[in-house]
């Protein structure tokens, strides 16, 4: 099978990212682009990834399956992929923000961790 | 009496087309899975051996006579009529390269019983004079002499005397009221007299009464193989009448595949009535004995053995667990072949192929399938429960220069009986 020709959706998407980065600088407005909601030829996502490139930060999350959070070569634009516990992709997005919300520690988790730490310390005499 | 004609053949096709045939043809999805189930295809790679293709004459007849489109096409000359030349060409496919083993029927995703259809197509082939000459001869001998191999009663009586001498036991003939009627295949009378001796010993130990019938000792049925129900009925009615005259409770089919099919499944349909007795394969009876504690054996076979499931007995007869129980009774080194049981590969000589000299070359060629199975196992002894399989196994192994003894299961059991005297 020969490589398929393209939908032409990459260019407008790149423009959308550019506008979103401008907004982030100007107003602090964040944005999420759901890549699963728009059509791409099979080769186009690969191409998009190549154009956006790899930036400074790369993180992996392990909660209900793996997630990869990769800053693109354009700081402030993040490529985020969530997988489920069966390692199937469940969502693929580009987020425009200072730091993706999913990386932030959550109050409930901090609380639970704190409890555990306290009980551990309570059982050990210093 | 009259000569076979194309018209009679076509009439036979029309007689044979029943609801199952019509629904089988109309539900075929042309997937070709039956090809890989057939050893005539797998061992030759020639697509003409695809089971559904062997049915082409009957399929076209059905299409032309029973479907609207087919009739139109025939009327418009778009579909060619069935000719004598075509049937002669198909003879090889329907007789020489099909053992009615039924493996194709097992894999058909829409449940078409292809073996049943081939058996029915043979009716038209025989009626139109396109049956192999050797099968005609065998049928002739069966009807006129009483056995496809020409075995007459005196030959059996001679073997019986020999068996009586060997075992020191009585070989009963025509005993009214005996519990079991024993049938034999010609092959067992002429080539494997051990079978009769084994029967005498086993039934003696079990304390069961049995008998042979002097007017119906032959279990095989050439009518089934050649595909002439009239002849099949004539042959099977001899057994049915003898069994009912002797008032036996059970008729035992010997170690012969199609004989079991003939008496167990075809007989009531051919006779058009319920039979006055039960029909069991000898392995089923032996297993009954074993379960009731009537089969006492001692010692175990030391060699590594495997079992070749005869198609008609295992696949179409369902006698699969019985031989395993019996083998494990006398062996602790029994191993299974790949695809054993209901998916076992045919020996290559059933369904009339062994009696058909025209099929000699191909039946040896396709025996390669069995050779492959056996090579994977490296056994010392091959056991089976069909005299016809046994002949082919022995001949095939010889041709492929493999030194491997072939034994009938019943006689193997008999050799391990605890002496009770």
């Amino acid at each position: 099978m020969q490589p398929l020709e393209k939908t032409g959706n990459i260019l407008p998407l790149l423009h959308e990212i550019r506008h979103a980065l401008e907004d982030l600088l100007a107003t602090g407005q964040t944005m999420v682009i759901d890549l699963q909601a728009m059509p791409f030829a099979p080769s186009e996502l690969v191409e998009l990834k190549e154009i956006l490139g790899v930036g400074e930060v790369s993180a992996e999350l392990h909660a209900l399956g793996k997630s990869t959070i990769q800053e693109t070569a354009f700081s402030g634009a993040w490529w985020i992929v969530h997988f489920n516990i069966d390692e199937k992709m469940i969502s693929q997005t580009i987020e425009i923000c200072h730091i993706p919300a999913i990386l932030m520690a959550q109050h409930a988790d901090i609380q639970m961790g704190l409890q555990q730490l306290s009980s551990t310390l309570g059982g050990v005499s210093l | 009496m009259s000569a076979p004609t194309l018209q009679k053949g076509l009439n036979a096709f029309a007689e044979q087309i029943d609801a199952p045939i019509a629904s089988f043809f109309s539900s075929c999805v042309h997937c070709g899975m039956c090809a890989d189930a057939c050893l005539f295809y797998t061992e030759t790679g020639n697509p003409k051996y695809t089971p559904i293709h062997k049915l082409e004459p009957l399929r076209r007849f059905w299409k032309q006579e029973y479907t609207l489109m087919g009739r139109l096409k025939k009327a418009l000359g778009l579909s060619k009529a069935i000719s004598d030349e075509e049937l002669e060409e198909w003879k090889e496919l329907l007789y020489n390269s099909c053992t009615l083993c039924g493996r194709c029927s097992m894999v058909c995703p829409v449940g078409n019983d292809l073996a049943y259809m081939i058996r029915k197509t043979r009716e038209g082939m025989a009626a139109s004079g396109h049956a192999p000459i050797d099968l005609v001869g065998a049928s002739n001998r069966s009807v006129t002499i009483g056995s496809p191999m020409g075995v007459r009663l005196p030959a059996l009586q001679a073997q019986s005397r020999k068996a009586a001498k060997e075992t020191g036991l009585d070989i009963p003939f025509d005993q009214v009221g005996a519990e079991y009627l024993i049938l034999l295949s010609s092959m067992e009378i002429m080539n494997y007299p051990e079978y009769l001796q084994a029967i005498a010993k086993i039934f003696k130990q079990a304390g069961k009464t049995w008998t042979l019938a002097s007017d119906a000792f032959e279990a095989t049925n050439s009518g089934i193989q050649i595909g002439v129900s009239d002849i099949a009925r004539e042959l099977v009615s001899r057994v049915v009448n003898a069994a009912e005259k002797l008032q036996v409770k059970t008729v035992i089919s010997p170690e012969c595949g199609h004989a079991y099919t003939a008496i167990r499944w075809d007989a009531p349909n051919l006779m058009g009535r319920k039979l006055g007795f039960k029909v069991r394969h000898i392995l089923e009876v032996l297993e009954d004995f074993r379960q009731s504690g009537l089969l006492k054996t001692e010692g175990l076979e030391e060699s590594k053995i495997t079992f070749h499931d005869p198609c008609q007995i295992a696949r179409r007869g369902g006698v699969i667990d019985e031989p395993r129980h019996l083998l494990n009774l006398v062996s602790n080194n029994f191993v299974e072949m790949n695809d054993h049981g209901k998916m076992n590969w045919c020996c290559g000589a059933g369904g009339g192929v062994s009696a058909n000299e025209e099929a000699h070359e191909i039946k040896i060629k396709v025996f390669n399938r069995k050779v492959t199975q056996l090579k994977e196992l490296k056994v010392d002894t091959l056991v089976t429960a069909c005299a016809n399989c046994r002949i082919q196994l022995e001949e095939g192994l010889e041709e492929y220069q493999i030194d491997l003894p072939v034994v009938g299961l019943t006689e193997m059991i008999a050799e391990h009986l605890v002496e009770t005297k």
């Binding site: 398929l4 020709e5 699963q36 199937k88 997005t93 988790d109 | 076979p4 004079g129 049956a131």
Partner: protein, 364 residues
């Protein structure tokens, strides 16, 4: 256990708040909701209680259940289905016989007015006896079970539109759910089978908002059925440029050109296949090289050939085909009768064959 909220249950299973937020993000994507909705989804799911679900299967092939149990959302079994209480499902439940029917009655009693009724398969009205469960006809069971339902989800084209059983000449008199139940909210999730995540998405929406999603004129959730396949198809640019595959093996087909001329029903079919895709987002029919059959549209089976371009007039063809079929059925019956005659005539003509009648040219 039934009283715990979804988040509490997840936490019991060792899932962190962060994991829960990830699940909410995936759910938003699943429901085709704006990512801005994630906080709202999280807030709603934190407090969601397990609704009871009763699943009835009528004239169907189990393809819908097959499809849904292969759903790949954040692991269907552990999450979405964990978040509901599936109290009755012929195919999946362990109970059988009286115990099974008892489970259904008990769930109805305990959750009267609150449970969700999921139905796959059409209902035969030609003769009630065509399809029964535990001796109860499909139509009776539907009417009885629908009475206490909060809403009904008709899963698959059979339940939504009558589907294959209803195709001409509709021998069982099959009808869709909404032909029988008129006084309950009904959500149609058509497709043969429907995309699994669409089904999960509808359940997730109900869990999240406690309401039904927005529906189109055919009662389908707009989030999934709002756009047609064609508009979201990656092959759409070829259509615009007039580049079409003419056969399944020509150069155009190899280059992945538009399948319109090969009968693709994408332009008139509203479904999410082109973006959500199948088998965990691997592919969808058009990406595999075959046109869309239009399986999520009413009467797709009778809408002309799957391989005739949409520009061929189908209205009259379908009607004429109906007449032709009716004529064919009559002709078929006539042939059936003639065929029976043929076999019995053949049997009458049978001359007994003896062993002397088997060799050509030998007449004795």
């Amino acid at each position: 256990m039934n009283q715990l909220s979804l988040e509490e249950r997840l936490r019991l299973h060792g899932v962190s708040r962060r994991g829960f937020l990830k699940f909410c993000a995936a759910t938003a994507s699943l429901m085709a909701l704006s990512p801005a909705m994630i906080p709202r989804i999280a807030a709603a799911l934190e407090n969601a209680k397990r609704p009871s679900v009763i699943w009835l299967s009528f004239q169907e092939c189990t393809g819908c259940t097959e499809s849904i149990t292969r759903s790949h959302s954040p692991s269907l079994e552990s999450l979405i289905f964990d978040a509901i209480s599936l109290d009755y499902h012929h195919t999946l439940q362990v109970a059988s016989g009286d115990a099974a029917e008892h489970a259904r009655e008990q769930a109805m009693k305990d959750n009267w007015g609150k449970y969700i009724l999921v139905v796959d398969g059409s209902i035969p009205l030609g003769n009630k006896g065509f399809s029964t469960i535990a001796g109860i006809s499909n139509v009776d069971m539907l009417i009885e079970t629908a009475k206490g339902a909060a809403a009904i989800v008709a899963v698959g084209s059979c339940a939504a539109f009558g589907g294959l059983p209803k195709a001409n000449p509709n021998p069982t008199g099959a009808v869709s759910i909404d032909m029988i139940i008129k006084d309950k909210p009904i959500i149609n999730v058509p497709g043969c089978p429907p995309i699994p995540v669409v089904m999960t998405g509808v359940l997730a929406h109900f869990l999240t908002f406690g309401t039904l999603p927005e529906l189109d004129h055919l009662k389908r959730p707009k989030a999934f059925y709002g756009q047609n396949i064609h508009d979201r198809c990656y092959r759409r640019p070829f259509y615009e440029r007039g580049q079409f595959a003419e056969t399944f093996d020509d150069e155009g087909a190899k280059k992945g050109w538009c399948l319109f001329k090969l009968g693709c029903k994408g332009p008139t079919t509203y479904n999410a296949c082109a973006t959500t895709k199948w088998n965990g987002g691997v592919s969808f029919p058009i990406e595999s090289g075959h046109g869309c059959l239009g399986c999520s549209e009413p009467n797709f089976w009778d809408a002309g050939s799957f391989y005739a371009p949409l520009s061929t007039p189908i209205g009259h063809v379908a009607q004429n085909a109906g007449y032709a079929l009716a004529a064919g059925a009559l002709a078929g019956a006539a042939i059936g009768f003639a065929n029976k005659q043929k076999s019995s005539q053949a049997i009458e003509k049978h001359e007994e064959i003896t062993v002397n009648d088997l060799i050509k040219g030998e007449t004795k």
